[in-house]
Symmetry: D3
Subunit: 238 residues, 6 copies
């Protein structure tokens, strides 16, 4: 397995979103030497299970397994995220500070926790603001243009419409560590079968992709390729 | 430039469709050693300009520039293409005979020559039939599963809706040969500015992709990738 | 469990489509006394596994488990289905002969076996023709208007876009018999994990619906209800 | 007519929205013993006709005819509704206080009064927040999960795209009382023919549903049904 | 009212489709001196009411009221329309013979009589074929390029999705003659309230357009205008 | 060229948006005597090139070429635009003050500068608020109902989906002045080829419309026409 020292910045509205939505893909990237930063926009204060302190501790344990740097952004707390210039700029600041090749955030489909939808739009805005040279609030950090902005879906209801194509990542080699990664969020597993939900999704996507387990990310821009020979594989299994 | 000996099979309803719709991409593939086969489903018999003989000769000249094998399929002639099991099987036969990695055909958007729409659906069906083991008509040729089915758009009206993502190919290094390739179809350039149409499209796509000239192909299946590090570039220019 | 003697007519392009696509729902209906008729439009002649005779025998075994009447329609065989007036009228004839309350057929999404797409459109047409009084070919049978036309998706690629709402059926009580029903199609299980595909789909749909296992059917018309109190449950679980 | 003691909570941006958008359905529910609560987010302060006091009086008269409890929420007044955490929480509070089975609010189609679009999104968010156990602002009221969130369209421009299926309610038996209910809003009938607009819509929907008059509500989640025999009727009339 | 001697060619699958779908617009055009040709693709042979002879007589009476030439095309009869090259060419021949400025045919939405969907696609194809110079079957008639192809919707289920914009025609001045025009089709009014359906639609569209009655046609191409001052009115009423 | 003294109000988020997005159309309108007002919502303070003072001076030079009145609205500056009641009312105030026949603003497609998306929604809201009689903040100015709200796309990524039809304006006669108009924004031409992007778009649209150069505007309401004879031309060229 060759090294590929990418820089990734993944954002989550709540402490477990990233691990559930794209944990397998991040583990694969970490295994190849990528440098991962996580930014969480709340401590899950509104959740029915777990205190904010417990949630933060769980997130930190998961970040450790991902060998990732973790940061908590102050945006009013769980269920209080709003689309605002201030919040966009807060995330743009993280983009400038971390200078990621790839930005990873949630999809904006309405059928999910409202914070996910808000964060999705904040990420889109922030990716733009991070590269504008004149923004007064960000003067201390040089502009940065990311190479990719990819989105993850935490539930089936968060998956974009089928017309919107996805990129599927083969996470078969990282399946067991991914389950352990999700198990860091013990408080969230008390009342709902989140891990079974995620593994059923990954198995289904794997079966239709001709691999054991897969997770999908949704690109926000078209791909640009030099030649047909550089085209990745495609999912034509059933 | 490394060699990449892919096998490509491109289908066109009329003698000039392939060169206008994806000629630059095919030239790039040819330059890297790919083996290209073209199948034309008519000799442009219904066109206002050029006789069937002239059209065939033009197509053969273009095929030569692409170092491609060329074949004319009998499906009733220009403006007579129909969606039928016989026609699907005729194309499936070509797929089994050529055994391509990549199948290339037109998009199915309604706003174009009716034959394009029909051929688009025939290609979709044929790609399936080519891999079914029991088809009596195709018993002489072993089943074959293509790796990709990509579609080209001959006019702006043939481009799929924006929700459907495309893959853009940088054809800057092959721009001049592509123009010469299109110029093989002299009879078609008498009354409409096809070459200007295609080069304006390629320039616009290039500008928004951060390269000189680009052509888009539309995948019919999701991509499957091993790792984020294998992700191609993305178009985030304007 | 109250009796509900509905009459159902389910159509499949190939011998296993119905059982994979909506077998659980049909078992539930059979258990409540519904009268089920199956019409198959081929014997799977083009398939890579199983002879037409084996496929027919498998289908008859499955029909027996469903306590269903079964009929094979002659439409040219597997991979030869075409949209034609003759084929629409053949199905309309079955509708008039069986007089079902509910017609069940495949969805028309393009990403699947071409026969499924064709059969989907034939069913839509046939449901109309069955109720037109003047059709000469059907003069022997009185017109019949079905109450519902529901569609099943055999693979994830056959599921309609998310904007199109579905009705989810709780099949938890019929899960084991459904697996046995699918196992009737032994020839099809040799090379692909169809049963695992279907059960993973049913589990995922169940998890997001708050039940163990569910299968979705896609209505082709809006529902008409007398009062909010008659509204079925809704899927608001994750 | 059997009793069905549902609890309904309907929200409107302005005093007449609920009666125009789904008054017939609410009257039918009231007639069967349902308990209806109305929440209005303004007194129509920006309207060209009627003072806020007149508008409030009209709304109270209409509520009386619906045997409904009515409440006015403070959100800045007509034309000042904004998507904010505070506003979402205000509505979530009403949901916890009223504990409805069914939440009814406006659709989010952009072609209508901007307040409707905002309220639509606030309702979606509030339905989520109402069931999260940890929300500090709502600690005094136990979490509540609604069973349904249905949306009404006040004008044809507010109706969702046709791909989004609706549920049609037969309001024929409540047509005359519905017209009287709408007539409560005398100030709004001075310059535009709102009642004719609503009754023409209800007649058209009735004609295509095989009943006299119908109103549509748009569900935000899929339905879950036990058995095909429990399926409501469907609209297959023209 | 100035004269405007347009040439119109309207196609219908059945004898009453044109009058129900766009009769008011055609009456308005006739009143300003346009020359109207009607082509019917069947005599309604499959209908539950009326013999083919009666249906033809009704259509001829309606054509007379429209001062229109009428022709019956042979395509296999009601419920037997198929998408084929022969049928497309038959219509293209009519286009070349009549040389219309505007071609009018049904929309292609699936939720209607299957013949309408087929005719919609045949019209799209024919409009193309009519202008191709080399088509052998049409050699006797010079090619003709229409200026517009507009589509009508016979039922609400035939109206395209709301994203597809329509052009609304004020038919208030022609309302009474339009009702009389529809009344020519007496056999069709025995069992279904078609006229009430159409007038309810026209009233609803009129109310939202700020006129008494309106009918919509759906353009298949973008409009090209010289200057903002030439822009027609827009529907911004409710 | 007849005079057409329309009143136009065009809004831009940044100093160059209007000229790039619809400059050719505005020049054509100005040439026919229309009265144009421009409102800019920032001075491009966040841009990588040009100071706010330079940007304002460039915008004023461009306005002069358009013989347009220009105004700068205070909304927090570039990259700080937010959807709020205050901002909507600020624009509604301009609408009441200028009383335009046509309001022109950016499209709301997400793939562009976040300010454009925000301004698009603010314009939609403001067009509504401007005609509501009771709005306290606007009491000093009589309500005003615009006749049209049209949207421009600054980049290909800002163009709405193809299902949404556009109106194309022939700007061939104003091409050279349009290029000069765009050249007013010298600071923006330093690092990106904006003018080449815009002229390639206009050429492509012209080629497919049968004219030299065209720009598209996207209507937000259906058109209402008296008679087919008043229909503008349509784009049926390739």
């Amino acid at each position: 397995m060759p090294e590929s020292k990418l820089r990734l910045l993944a954002l989550g509205a709540h402490p477990d979103d990233i691990e559930f939505g794209c944990g397998g893909v991040l583990l694969a990237a970490a295994a190849r030497g990528s440098e991962i930063s996580l930014c969480l926009c709340s401590r899950g204060e509104a959740g029915s299970n777990g205190t904010p302190n417990e949630r933060e501790a769980e997130a930190r344990r998961a970040a450790k397994r991902l060998q990732a740097r973790i940061e908590f952004l102050e945006m009013g707390g769980d269920s209080h995220l709003e689309i605002s210039a201030v919040n966009s700029i807060t995330i743009a600041q993280q983009i400038r500070a971390r200078r990621p090749d790839i930005l990873v955030g949630p999809t904006g489909m309405p059928d999910q926790h409202p914070d996910h939808v808000v964060l999705s739009e904040l990420c889109r805005k922030a990716a733009r603001l991070a590269r504008y040279g004149g923004l007064a609030e960000l003067r201390d950090l040089p502009p940065h243009a990311i190479k990719h902005h990819l989105e993850y879906a935490i539930t089936p209801g968060a998956e974009p419409s089928r017309d919107h194509s996805s990129i599927r990542f083969d996470i078969s080699a990282h399946f067991a560590p991914w389950v352990e990664l999700m198990e860091c969020h013990q408080t969230q597993l008390r009342t709902r079968r989140y891990i079974e939900l995620q593994t059923a999704r990954a198995r289904l996507l794997g079966l239709t992709s001709g691999v054991e387990y897969a997770q999908a990310l949704y690109p926000t821009s078209d791909l640009v390729i030099d030649d047909l020979a550089d085209l990745p594989a495609s999912a034509r299994f059933f």
